[in-house]
């Protein structure tokens, strides 16, 4: 057997194109961002003196406000979506029958329209003299205060945009619960609440956890909702990163913010995965 064959058995050899593709397309940009976070502020030379100055600048600034908004809104989005999506997921998996496909399609359709267009649509609905307030005014003479450009509407926009990312994994999770198990629980005298708490919820947990993680990771990087619906009355961390990379042309600072966000989100995801081991709840070990 040649040395090459020993070093690169067929499995590895055939995986090589994919490994190279992932290294160039996925790992390289990530490492570039990490490397930039250590170079002097407002420079582009990767081989300049590396330091933690950009991180110190972040810690000495008020960036915690932006981190707080992003994490807080993402957490609130996940919680609201969990409450909204579980009944819908249950319906899609167990109740709606032949209508489930049509309803799934209705939830999917908005994904074919640009997120910005959909958010501007909400502006037209909620803005003063818009679809909602204008109608209330003309029909009932009632002029409530506008709610656009508020944190609340930002949250509504995030719930709306990320709903499919919670709903579909959750539906998959709910549909994984065997009907026989539920029937057995009822036969043994379990109440509906007991069946939900001791059968449905634990067995659908893989879908729920995946939905939580997917939604949280996407929502923590959200920027369009705060820009369009929130009128930047709140500044999420993604906005600070964008300003650093554009108007400020401070790529190192933007990179440090991005790395910190990745670490923070990675840490939180790890905590969840330690609590809910997906392999275990999927029954693989």
């Amino acid at each position: 057997m040649s040395i090459l064959s020993r070093l690169l058995p067929p499995g590895r050899r055939h995986a090589l194109p994919l490994i190279l593709f992932m290294a160039v397309g996925f790992a390289a940009p990530l490492f570039a961002v990490i490397a930039y976070s250590f170079v002097p502020a407002r420079t582009f030379d990767l081989w300049a003196d590396w330091s933690f100055d950009n991180y110190l600048e972040v810690f000495n600034s008020t960036s915690y406000i932006a981190f707080g908004w992003s994490l807080g809104l993402a957490a609130a989005t996940v919680l609201i979506l969990a409450l909204v999506c579980y009944p819908v997921a249950f319906g899609l998996a167990r109740v709606f029958g032949k209508w489930a496909t049509l309803i799934t399609l209705l939830f999917t359709l908005p994904l074919f329209v640009s997120e910005n267009v959909r958010l501007y649509g909400w502006i037209m609905v909620f803005i003063k003299n818009g679809v909602l307030l204008g109608t209330l005014k003309s029909l009932f003479g009632w002029e409530p205060d506008s709610i656009v450009f508020t944190p609340e509407l930002t949250l509504l926009g995030m719930v709306y945009v990320y709903l499919p990312f919670m709903l579909f994994p959750m539906t998959l999770g709910v549909s994984m619960v065997p009907q026989q198990t539920r029937d057995a629980a009822y036969d043994l005298g379990a109440s509906r609440w007991q069946v939900f708490r001791e059968v449905d919820l634990p067995l659908s947990m893989p879908g729920i956890v995946i939905g939580f993680l997917l939604t949280f990771v996407l929502a923590v990087g959200a920027i369009a909702e705060a820009k369009v619906l929130g009128g930047q009355r709140i500044i999420p961390i993604a906005n600070d990163i964008e300003v650093a990379f554009t108007y400020a042309q401070n790529w190192p600072l933007g990179s440090a913010l991005a790395v910190l966000l990745m670490l923070l989100v990675g840490f939180l995801v790890l905590i969840v995965l330690r609590r809910f081991d997906l392999d275990t709840i999927l029954g693989r070990r």
């Binding site: 990767l46 803005i127 506008s146 930047q232 108007y247």
Partner: protein
């Protein structure tokens, strides 16, 4: 006196790894193109990338044109600094960059004076050759062509605040506590730095003292705290039309024009009567200069395109290309001016353009921009902290 301290010319040379990721948008393929008589790449503000402007040139020459539109100058300049001079053939940015930054740094190259200067003679009077912003600092080399321009201070709904009041109160509109919650701010951070200096009562385009920086900090906090919204021009105009806000900061004919084109002639760009500049100037104006990039393998069509957009018909098309609508310097030529309808002249506020431009200083480099931008970004973030 520099926005940026980096020495970026070595950037790509030393970091192929980073370039692989950062240039993944397909530009590397463009950079590798060799048939430079068959293509033209333009980095520009919106409008020059529209089909109305590009398609006739494409058909006439049978070439591929790629035009990428960005909405702030620093990003475009830094694309060239980061090594994209071998990608782009033309760059269209605001007036100070060609003369003060791009030519001294070797990012653009001069164009043929004999060929292009006669076009300046047909422009509006203030743009006659040698036009300062199109020339190098020594006044010897022609660095680009002037086309779109406009005053850029703020925009009001004249049903809420009359033009006379808005002009008279000027930048103090933002110093009046009674106006908190009644205005928006455009998410155009470089221009917001200029305007917050004006509200604070000093000229943005100079080095600032510690007292002025302290005043800037206080003013930025006040402006963002009182802002109902910080958004793009479409949402701000929507906010004005619907009554959510009464006026917004950083705006001009460029931003008001889409609303006016939709019939909302009560949305009006305002240049204040009094301001912090020398010679009684009060507002700020911009003039785009389109230059030829110092591309080692420049497209043979670069200068031809610059000449193509000087014609009366194409100048009118550029003025009313998609997105926003703006006056063009070529309106000094009767053949071009006659192409504008009365409605179009109303949209770009032709009635007051000359007097407003006369009250404006021209956009310039802010020596301590980095510091002021950081202060303003923090102020915006802290205003969101409750």
């Amino acid at each position: 006196m520099s926005y940026f301290k980096q020495t970026r010319r070595d950037f790509l040379k030393h970091s192929a790894l980073a370039a692989g990721g950062l240039a993944a948008g397909g530009l590397t393929g463009l950079g590798a193109a060799s048939a430079r008589s068959n293509e033209l790449n333009i980095l520009c503000w919106e409008g020059y990338n529209s089909a109305q402007v590009l398609d006739p040139f494409r058909s006439e020459h049978g070439i591929t044109i790629r035009a990428e539109s960005l909405t702030n100058d620093p990003t475009m300049i830094n694309r060239l600094r980061a090594g994209e001079t071998n990608v782009w053939d033309l760059i269209n940015v605001n007036n100070p960059w060609a003369r003060k930054i791009m030519y001294p740094e070797g990012l653009i190259k001069p164009i043929d004076r004999a060929r292009f200067e006669p076009y300046f003679d047909k422009m509006l009077p203030e743009f006659k050759a040698p036009y300062k912003w199109a020339m190098d600092e020594k006044g010897e080399q022609l660095l680009g062509m002037a086309q779109r321009f406009g005053p850029f201070s703020y925009v009001v709904n004249t049903d809420k605040i009359s033009r006379a009041t808005a002009e008279d109160q000027g930048w103090d509109l933002w110093n009046d506590p009674a106006n908190a919650g009644k205005y928006g701010v455009q998410a155009s951070d470089d221009w917001n730095v200029f305007d917050i200096c004006c509200i604070a009562g000093f000229d943005p385009f100079k080095e600032h003292s510690d007292e002025e920086v302290a005043k800037f900090t206080e003013t930025a906090a006040k402006v963002f705290k009182g802002a109902k919204m910080v958004s793009d021009l479409a949402t701000l105009n929507q906010g004005l039309v619907s009554g959510e806000i009464d006026f917004y900061l950083t705006g001009g004919t460029y931003t008001a024009s889409p609303a006016r084109a939709d019939g909302a002639l009560n949305i009006r760009a305002i240049t204040p009567l009094r301001g912090p500049f020398a010679d009684g100037k009060a507002g700020i104006s911009w003039i785009e200069i389109t230059s030829v990039v110092n591309n080692p393998d420049i497209s043979t069509h670069a200068e031809n395109f610059l000449e193509y957009v000087q014609s009366p018909e194409m100048s009118h098309t550029v003025a009313f290309a998609e997105g926003t609508f703006n006056p063009v310097t070529q309106m000094g030529n009767k053949a071009c001016f006659d192409l504008f309808t009365k409605e179009e002249l109303d949209i770009i506020q032709w009635d007051s353009l000359e007097e407003e431009m006369a009250r404006c200083v021209e956009y310039d480099i802010v020596p301590d921009y980095d510091k002021l931008l950081d202060i303003m970004t923090a102020a915006k973030r802290e205003a969101s902290g409750g």
